[in-house]
């Protein structure tokens, strides 16, 4: 019945459907961008390194099982890299900070580090660019001493961060512990998730590791929260404005659509149709219109999101089919809200007057 009524009054039906499709498409685009940009931004923020640091209290070292506990708590939702520190001496007697770490974790944890080559073998070192000028200007092997114990190291690669790391030498944790007998005092952790989720992980770590201080890296967490919050607010505000505009468009077209068919509804009333039944017809038509608009608009919206992703972010935006239920529910809700006024107007239709042609 709706289809045939739509065919008979193509203009109105097309306007109503177009309004729904445009609304659903734009909101789909916004939600896709929102979800995808959020994921992309989180990934970018993870490249900036750890957002939580676990430090041993009073300059002590952490117990050997702390790293295992922290990794178990993360349950695959983050990375944990241990760091042990010592101040060693070069052959010329100068002091230099040496750190033992797990290179496999650190290369994923600190993606922003600029490294020419990562150490893969025992007694290979990652040498900060300023430290290299001191211990191995030509990239040759060098010796360091700590507590009267010597270690012979081969520089595997040069590290550039523009920060304190440039003045350090990094060894594998095994080589470092064997040489200095010093265990990690710091664990850097990068947790994926919203700022709330990061805070939740921090609280769990604090509870599980009473012997350590668990601290946030505020610059990262707060910066992330700020950027994500603003992105979210902008996209949601846009989506709400578009939804409101679409509701008004659908309201206008649906009212016109029902007004055009008031004679049909008057005939139905004359034949004995109750107001509830006629309201049900209009509501059912609105639901169908909303659902159809959602399906078509969702397709266009995915296309729009992909285009914006390529044009603005130079990266593909992954289609998020998980937003479809929200688009479908929202479109149907918008259509039903827009149908309230026409249903109210239909209640006032006097069949006698309409059938007389007034």
């Amino acid at each position: 019945m709706l289809l045939r009524a739509a065919i008979l009054r193509r203009g109105r039906a097309a306007s109503a459907l177009l309004a729904m499709v445009v609304a659903a498409a734009v909101v789909t685009t916004m939600l896709n961008l929102f979800v995808d940009v959020q994921a992309k931004l989180r990934k970018e923020f993870r490249n900036y390194g750890a957002n939580i640091v676990v430090v041993a209290r009073d300059g002590q070292t952490l117990a050997p099982n702390v790293l295992q506990k922290a990794s178990a708590l993360l349950a695959g939702r983050g990375l944990a890299g241990p760091f042990a520190y010592a101040v060693a001496r070069t052959t010329s007697g100068q002091s230099i900070v040496v750190s033992g770490t797990d290179f496999d974790q650190v290369r994923n944890l600190n993606r922003w580090w600029s490294v020419t080559a990562w150490p893969t073998l025992s007694q290979q070192a990652l040498v900060g660019v300023r430290a290299a000028a001191l211990v191995s200007p030509q990239g040759k092997p060098f010796d360091l001493s700590f507590g009267g114990r010597l270690i012979h190291l081969n520089p595997a690669g040069i590290l550039r961060t523009g920060a304190a790391e440039d003045s350090r030498i990094y060894l594998s944790l095994r080589d470092f512990e064997g040489w200095t007998e010093t265990h990690p005092s710091t664990i850097e952790i990068a947790v994926s998730g919203t700022p709330e989720e990061v805070t939740s992980v921090m609280q769990k770590l604090s509870a599980a590791l009473p012997e350590a201080d668990v601290r946030p890296v505020r610059q990262i967490i707060e910066g992330e929260a700020r950027v994500l919050g603003k992105t979210r607010a902008t996209l949601l505000a846009t989506a709400i404005l578009i939804t409101l505009t679409a509701t008004l468009c659908v309201l206008a077209t649906l009212t016109g659509w029902v007004f055009d068919r008031r004679r049909d509804f008057a005939i139905m009333k004359a034949l004995g149709a109750s107001q509830r039944l006629i309201s049900g017809f209009v509501a059912a038509e609105a639901v169908l219109l909303g659902a159809l608009g959602a399906v078509i608009g969702f397709g266009f919206g995915l296309g729009g999101a992909a285009w914006i992703g390529r044009a603005n972010f130079h990266a593909p935006v992954i289609p998020r089919f998980s937003v479809f239920p929200a688009i479908l529910g929202g479109s149907v809700a918008v259509a039903l809200i827009a149908a309230i006024l026409p249903i109210f107007l239909l209640r006032r239709v006097q069949p006698a007057m309409i059938l007389r042609g007034e």
């Binding site: 004359a270 034949l271 004995g272 107001q275 006698a352 059938l355």
Partner: protein, 263 residues
């Protein structure tokens, strides 16, 4: 079957700057027995359609009582009136008023749907009775005026109503189709249905009326008056006498006079 007692219907006079009212019916009284065929006749503006709308529960009287099949419908709720329309009344309109995007069969079945439940076979039989079984799948735009009116008749009869209200059912038809429709109405009358039919052209009908066949009963009906809030009532026409002047199309007629009618 149908009894109207002192029924008045007032409409707001939108054209009047002072917001007056138009009296479409004024203290109208009528009684129709079961199985009777009554023609309501009169010129435009005499209140014929208003009367049919009131009997058909499409409108409510401003005052008076309307009894249909022993029940006073004047003060019924909208839902109760819907049921009365669905169960007791069948409408035949001058403009046919078919749903344009439904086929003839679906138009008939729509009335079934509002009454109780649809039965395609029964709807096809109703179309067969008006000679349109082979046109069941056509939409109104594919049917002639006469065929559309026959669909309208099939739709009016599908729920077996006790009362058939026909508002100028042949007004838009040529002579051939008019005869077909009137033959169908005669058949309905023979089956014992109560028919109230509005006819527009009084002169033609007077010519067809056979003197001496009628019972010569007079009906008084004061026609439209406009009332002004400050000026009391200003009668726009005279009081007219309406005569039931004979058997017309095997029925009886009520004459509702118009403004230019001399009575």
């Amino acid at each position: 079957m149908i009894r109207l007692k002192d029924v008045s219907r007032l409409y707001p006079a939108k054209a009047e700057a002072s917001g007056g009212v138009i009296r479409a019916l004024d203290d109208f009284t009528l009684s129709v027995d079961p199985g009777e065929w009554v023609a309501i006749m009169g010129p435009s503006g005499s209140g014929k359609s208003t009367l049919v709308n009131l009997i058909g529960c499409l409108d409510r009287p401003t005052a008076g009582e309307i009894w249909l099949d022993g029940v006073n419908v004047a003060n019924m709720s909208a839902n109760e009136l819907n049921r009365v329309r669905a169960e007791k009344v069948g409408f035949i309109f001058q403009q046919f008023h078919l749903i344009p995007y439904l086929t003839a069969l679906e138009n008939v079945m729509l009335a079934q749907y509002f009454h109780s439940m649809t039965d395609e076979q029964e709807a096809l039989e109703a179309l067969a009775r008006v000679g349109l079984k082979d046109r069941a799948e056509h939409v109104p735009a594919q049917l002639s005026g006469g065929e559309q009116q026959r669909v309208c008749i099939a739709r009016a009869l599908i729920n077996d109503p006790k009362i058939v209200l026909a508002d100028e059912p042949t007004g838009n038809l040529d002579a051939v189709n008019e005869e077909i429709v009137l033959r169908l109405l005669r058949e309905l009358h023979r089956q014992g249905r109560t028919i109230v039919m509005v006819r527009h052209d009084p002169v033609e009908r007077r010519q067809q009326a056979l003197p001496g066949q009628g019972r010569g009963q007079w009906w008084r009906h004061s026609r439209a008056r406009r009332f002004h809030p400050l000026g009391g009532s200003r009668r726009m026409g005279r009081d007219y006498g309406a005569v039931r002047f004979g058997e017309v199309y095997a029925g009886k007629s009520h004459w509702l006079p118009g403004p230019s009618d001399s009575g």
